[in-house]
Amino acid sequence: MIELKAAHELDVFKKLVRMRARIIWPLSVFLVLALAGNLYLMSAGSNIGGRLVSENGVITIALAYSLGLIFLGASAAVFYVWWANKYLDPLMEKVCAEISKLGEGA
């Protein structure tokens, strides 16, 4: 517990927190805003969401947007895992090594 509390002040740990925060919060906010966009289209009713994507078709803007939103959610998940595996995990190992040194020092 003591070394974990001390680890909070480590530069490498702060870097880890900053690095993760720079990705997860903007991406999460973006996704929630994208969801809000879909809800707005539905709230406004057929005035906006009910308009057709193309004149000859039947697909509405709201329906197309919802499909895009599902694709966006899945893409964000793939991106985050790729990013975390490539950039976060190596840094995490460094942090753990530093914390281990703290424990040995104590």
Partner: protein, 569 residues
């Protein structure tokens, strides 16, 4: 050693006899139900007994019981019972998560809703995918690093006293019960349609199977049942979707045009407003419920502990998000495409002009229209497997809340005998099974997608704010969590009772006092505000101690150092 071996052999013999009895029961039941379906008069005699469906049904039941038998031999500790001892791979866990989440409410409820109400029903899908992606980034890894068996472990990690754990265990149980109702109603309707069997007997059979899976096989059996079910469901969904599209030259647009042409709503079928009536507040509250509700579902969160570490949890959720995204696209195709196929076709309607079996049976009728009795039987068995997999996960989470959170940690202060804890878990499973039958009867006439959404409303309003604040906000105190969380819980329950689904449809009043479908747009902000307010007002020494523990908790949540010790705090 000799005594131990004798005891082991006796136990194995008793288990063998027990399973033989169950197999005998199933065989007898299959014959009786076949006879019943042929002789019962009234509405259900209009259903033809589908021998293929019955055969698949029993193959699945026998297969899953065999898996349970195998799993039971490995389930010899509470770690194995609650979390499969963390030995599940990310891909397996992803399939199980998807299998746990893609419930009967999704397959049967959403397709039924879209068939009658149109595009609006899809709001129950897209918000969920966004929710999963967000949960992956802000919750999954930290959650795995802080807890061990239940999500209450995470919330109460640095909080003193038992009151938080009691409150959150109670919230878990309420969420699970609501979710369970949706599954039981779906199961009852499905077997009723398949066998012409009385609804009550149908849900009793589901309950018995559910109790067997969980009490003997624990998390290992539950995981395998969910994995198999997810693969079957995806396979069935893919087949129906492609078969539907093939009727329209694989053109999604042509399929929708055909649906619009036959549905009384016409083009409005694909426009917003068919279900929620363009009511902004209604739309937002449903959307928010779907997105944030999943982040507080105990049975889903519990699955994060079945993998080795946080990286495993991360991969699990990402794979699961992809699997579910594909599935929800199938749901869209089936829900709207079914209109072109079934609408106005007399063989799918009863004398009163209603679709046979009710709105929840649209997906299964679509299967029949596309693949005859074979596909109908297959999808019925898959839907049944879906229900069993989900109720097994729910029951396991309920037993963990009772045996781990309430008994072992609260009553025994973390010093419970693991064998007794395991025994209490199994007794809890039986109690939950009985309760599921009673509630299944009370909520028989509800749309199962709506009932399940109540679970999400409580999860979004109480569990999610507390989980998020416990992980990210230093200022959270046990007093803030208990008073704020408790008041939000009561507030949410009151609003749900006053809504149309309970106040009018269950209690028989003329109009609902709360006019919206779900309360989340009101109750979730209230949850955050109340927990924040009562935490900042807390100036006690205990609060100082709890706040001082945040830094260490934060390091552990980020790095996973000492993760296995998390729940022993």
């Amino acid at each position: 050693m000799k005594n131990l071996r004798t005891l082991y052999l006796k136990t194995m013999y008793l288990k063998t006899m027990y399973f033989r009895l169950i197999f005998t029961f199933l065989t007898v039941f299959s014959i009786n139900s076949f006879a019943c379906a042929s002789t019962i008069e009234g509405e259900v005699t209009k259903q033809e007994t589908n021998i293929f469906a019955i055969a698949i049904f029993f193959v699945f039941a026998l297969l899953t019981l065999a898996i349970t038998w195998w799993a039971a031999r490995q389930t010899n500790s509470k770690e194995a019972f609650y979390t499969a001892s963390g030995g599940v791979s990310p891909l397996q866990n992803a399939l199980a998560i998807a299998g746990d989440f893609m419930s009967a409410a999704t397959l049967l409820g959403i397709t039924g809703l879209m068939f009658f109400r149109g595009y609006d029903g899809y709001i129950l899908s897209f918000g969920i995918i966004v929710g999963w992606a967000v949960m992956l980034m802000i919750i999954a890894e930290r959650f795995r690093n802080l807890g061990r068996f239940t999500f209450v472990d995470v919330i109460s990690y640095r909080l003193e006293g038992n009151s938080v754990r009691v409150l959150m265990a109670l919230c878990s149980l309420v969420v699970i019960v609501f979710y369970l109702i949706g599954q039981m109603v779906g199961a009852g309707k499905l077997i009723q349609l398949l066998f012409g069997l009385d609804y009550i007997y149908a849900i009793i059979i589901v309950s018995i199977l559910m109790v067997l899976y969980v009490s003997f096989g624990g998390m290992i059996a539950t995981t395998w049942v969910q994995m198999i079910k997810a693969i079957l469901l995806l396979g069935g969904g893919a087949f129906i979707s492609f078969a539907l599209l093939s009727k329209f030259d694989f053109s999604f647009s042509k399929m929708l045009e055909a649906s619009v042409n036959v549905h009384p709503k016409g083009q409005s079928l694909l426009e917003p407003g068919g279900w929620l009536g363009k009511d902004s507040l209604n739309v937002w509250t449903v959307g928010l419920t779907m997105c944030f509700g999943i982040m507080g579902l105990p049975h889903i969160l519990m699955r994060f502990f079945t993998v080795k570490n946080a990286a495993g949890a991360r991969k699990s959720v990402a794979y699961a998000t992809m699997i579910m995204s594909v599935f929800y696209i199938f749901i869209l195709i089936i829900g709207l495409g079914a209109v072109a196929l079934l609408w106005g076709q007399p063989e799918y309607y009863d004398d009163a002009g209603k679709i046979i079996g009710g709105s929840n049976m649209v997906a299964l009728h679509t299967a029949k229209a596309l693949g005859g009795d074979f596909l109908f039987g297959f999808m019925s068995a898959v839907a049944f497997a879906t229900i069993l997999a989900v109720v097994a996960g729910l029951t396991l989470a309920a037993s963990a809340a009772i045996a781990h959170d309430l008994y072992a940690v609260v009553m025994k202060k973390g010093l419970a005998d693991p064998k007794i804890e395991l025994r209490i878990s199994k007794i809890s499973v039986i109690v939950v099974g009985i309760m599921a039958v009673i509630l299944g009867i009370v909520f028989e006439t509800q749309n199962i997608a709506v009932v399940t959404a109540f679970a999400l409303a409580i999860a979004a309003s109480v569990n999610f704010p507390l989980l998020l604040l416990s992980m990210y906000w230093r200022g959270l105190t046990s007093r803030g969590a208990v008073i704020g969380g408790g008041l939000t819980f009561i507030f949410t329950i009151i609003i749900i009772v006053l809504s149309d689904s309970i106040w009018v449809q269950v209690l028989g009043n003329e109009t609902a006092i709360f006019p919206y479908v779900y309360p989340t747009v009101f109750t979730m902000p209230v949850g955050f505000i109340l927990v924040w307010l009562f935490s900042v007002m807390d100036r006690s020494q205990k609060a100082k101690l709890e706040r001082s523990r945040f830094d260490a908790q934060f390091v552990r949540s980020e790095t996973g150092i000492g993760a296995d010790e998390a729940s022993q705090h």
